[in-house]
């Protein structure tokens, strides 16, 4: 018999944690990916993913249905872990890098077009950390505006506004777009 996510959460909140594994199966890869894309290190991403799920398990009683989806709650724990990681490991200014695209050697080697990645990175570096976060959540994590808003603790409208600002810069930076398109090899004349 299928059991809904809210039923699982209710059971867990009543102390019956047996079905927590179902939540784990549903979100493990998404949360890991979310963290990896902001850390770009497999071991660290695994550590932070573990911390995220252990926190979720221990604090599931603090989740309230009326304050957003469980998914957003889980992403928020992951996001906080990533921010804490940067605070502990690097100077404050580097926290911003959590929301950029890392260009470490491992990542570059795994991408077929290093130049293109560099260009994309350079372009995204011109955005604010929050704008980059919105872009990544929308394009890479494939989250809805509502989810992004719940994770960031902002309104849906302000997240849309942030995206619109990025879009505005896309228009202004058409030269960059052209360059990227040329790199892709099929920009129309």
């Amino acid at each position: 018999m299928e059991i809904s996510e809210s039923q699982i959460i209710e059971k867990c909140q009543k102390g019956d944690l047996a079905d927590f594994g179902l939540l784990y199966d549903r979100y493990i890869k998404k949360i890991y990916n979310y963290i990896y894309w902001r850390i770009s290190d497999k071991d660290t991403a695994e550590d932070l993913t573990s911390q995220t799920f252990f926190k979720a398990l221990e604090k599931i009683n603090t989740y309230h249905f009326n304050k957003g989806s469980f998914s957003s709650w889980l992403y928020r724990i992951a996001r906080n872990n990533v921010i804490d990681h940067y605070r502990q490991q690097r100077p404050t200014s580097d926290i911003e890098r959590a929301w950029g695209i890392s260009a470490n050697d491992n990542l570059e080697q795994e991408l077929s077009d290093r130049q293109e990645l560099t260009r994309v990175e350079q372009y995204l570096e011109r955005l604010s950390p929050e704008q980059k976060d919105v872009v990544m959540m929308r394009l890479w994590d494939e989250l809805s505006y509502q989810e992004i808003a719940e994770i960031m603790g902002k309104s849906e409208a302000s997240c849309k506004m942030m995206f619109s600002r990025v879009a505005g810069r896309l228009r202004q930076d058409l030269a960059v777009i052209m360059m990227l398109a040329l790199l892709a090899g099929n920009f129309p004349n």
Partner: protein, 494 residues
């Protein structure tokens, strides 16, 4: 255009219609932004490892919660007993029944009870959630069931090097198909919550011999209770394996040996077929026993008398065993579970024919499972090839070996479940898996064979079949010639 890109464009158009004039360029840039998304190196091994760690944490949290609930009233009971000056042993004798009584009283009101339930519970997980079912190449996970000597207790007893015999199976059944591309694999979940809870209670008792409170993270391994009467039973609750067994308390009451001394039939006098009750009487005897001790029969199908001993009896009429088992076959998902040799798997009740008495009950376990779907082999030709060459149960001889090969016949298979074990490198434990399999009835056993399995089991999980083929292809092609040594039938526990 990719639906995802279209959605993102629509978002932009909602904000500013002017974006439409740049649509082609925007499509390209969004597409590139999506495509540079790096591969995250997601690791199934990590997923399984973290799952195990979370499971352990869940058990710990569950145990702690129960301990907190029981701590107050237990502390009161124990203190009173201690102050009364009674010895530690008496404390145990009184505290444990009190604990269990209290648990049963409380279970009706707030659900506080030991989680030792035989009822089948299944939680469905995502596909292939258990990771690889063949974690290490050395694992013996394929269905096994040699013609003789397969650990059944009824096999041939070899002296020295056994004769090397291979088996081939001739398929005489109908055409069949495998309709599903994926089927459920079940993994048994054991809890250590009870072990922690009981151990924490016990460690609060004061012993002069040792201070149990000094133990770090104590866990109760097993608990034994004895009926203090003639012909009573010993009940063992295994908290690690999550099962219960009952055996005869031989220390009290007359035994066959003492009766023999008193002039009754001695234990070395062979039984005849007339001493064996008919199946329905044996089943009634077993049922009376399980009813008396309120054994939960809900996870099991109709009981059956295990009659493989009759194969030996047909070749030698003195082969009547002292003990005959009634088996209550485990049902999961309405399917009967078999062991790797094709025998019914489930709870066993042993009946001593000589004494006309139930001697015990084994393999009565908790039945909590996780279910996850795995790809199955739908290629019937491949399945029949594996079955008929004798490869499914390591029946075949390695290529080039010129020892004896015997032929058996198998009929149309049914889809059933078979219990296998997978060694978990992280926990260093054998995990119990129930996998789908084709169950071919053996319709004709090889000539001059005293004992042979009733079913041939061929796993349906692709990964297991693939691993099997890798394993068999790595066997040596030429084995040294071994001179057969005459075999002697085993004694039937007489």
């Amino acid at each position: 255009m990719d639906q995802r890109i279209q959605t993102i464009l629509n978002d932009l158009y909602q904000i500013d219609q002017d974006f439409k004039q740049y649509e082609k360029q925007l499509v390209k840039i969004i597409d590139r932004l999506i495509k540079v998304r790096p591969d995250t190196e997601f690791d199934e091994e990590f997923k399984n490892r973290l799952r195990q760690e979370l499971l352990a944490k869940i058990e710990e949290l569950s145990a702690n919660k129960k301990i907190k609930k029981t701590a107050s009233w237990l502390a009161l009971s124990f203190n009173k007993l201690a102050y009364a000056g009674l010895g530690a042993i008496i404390v145990i004798i009184i505290a444990l029944p009190t604990f269990f009584w209290s648990q049963s009283q409380m279970s009706g009101s707030n659900g506080l009870s030991l989680e030792f339930d035989a009822k089948v519970g299944i939680n469905s997980l995502a596909n292939q959630a258990f990771g690889s079912l063949v974690a290490t190449p050395s694992q013996e996970i394929l269905a096994d069931g040699r013609g003789a000597g397969d650990g059944s207790g009824l096999a041939t007893n070899y002296i020295g090097i056994p004769e090397i015999v291979g088996y081939k199976f001739v398929y005489t059944g109908d055409n069949f198909t495998i309709d599903d591309a994926e089927m459920n694999v079940f993994k048994r979940i054991k809890t250590s919550a009870n072990a922690s809870m009981i151990a924490n209670l016990i460690s609060r008792l004061k012993f002069d011999l040792i201070d149990l409170s000094k133990l770090s993270n104590p866990k109760m391994q097993s608990l034994g209770l004895m009926e203090d009467r003639d012909y009573g039973y010993l009940v063992t609750i295994d908290f690690q394996e999550n099962n219960v067994s009952v055996s005869q308390n031989y220390t009290q009451g007359e035994t066959a040996v003492s009766r023999c001394a008193a002039g009754e039939r001695c234990i070395d006098q062979p039984l005849s077929i007339d001493d064996v009750s008919n199946d329905s009487d044996l089943i009634s005897q077993a049922n009376d026993f399980v009813n008396k001790y309120a054994i939960d029969l809900s996870p099991y199908g109709q009981p059956q008398v295990e009659d493989s001993w009759r194969q030996f009896y047909e070749t030698d009429s003195s082969n009547v065993p002292d003990i005959i088992n009634v088996i209550y076959p485990l049902l999961i998902d309405n399917k009967t579970v078999l062991d790797e040799s094709g025998n019914l798997f489930g709870m066993r009740v042993g009946i001593n024919i000589r004494e006309n008495k139930v001697i015990g009950l084994w393999n009565h376990s908790t039945n909590n499972y996780q279910a996850s779907r795995y790809p199955v082999e739908q290629n019937v030709s491949r399945l029949l090839e594996i079955a008929t060459t004798g490869n499914a149960g390591n029946h075949a001889l390695p290529g080039g070996t010129s020892e004896k090969v015997l032929e058996a016949e198998i009929g149309t298979p049914e889809i059933g479940l078979v219990k296998i074990y997978r060694f978990n490198d992280n926990t260093k434990e054998n995990e119990e898996l129930i996998i789908p399999a084709l169950v071919f009835p053996v319709t004709k056993i090889p000539e001059n064979t005293s004992y042979f399995q009733k079913n041939l089991v061929v796993p349906l999980i692709k990964e297991i079949l693939d691993r099997y083929e890798q394993t068999t292809s790595s066997l040596p092609k030429d084995l040294p010639q071994v001179k057969p040594i005459p075999a002697t039938p085993a004694m039937m526990t007489n």
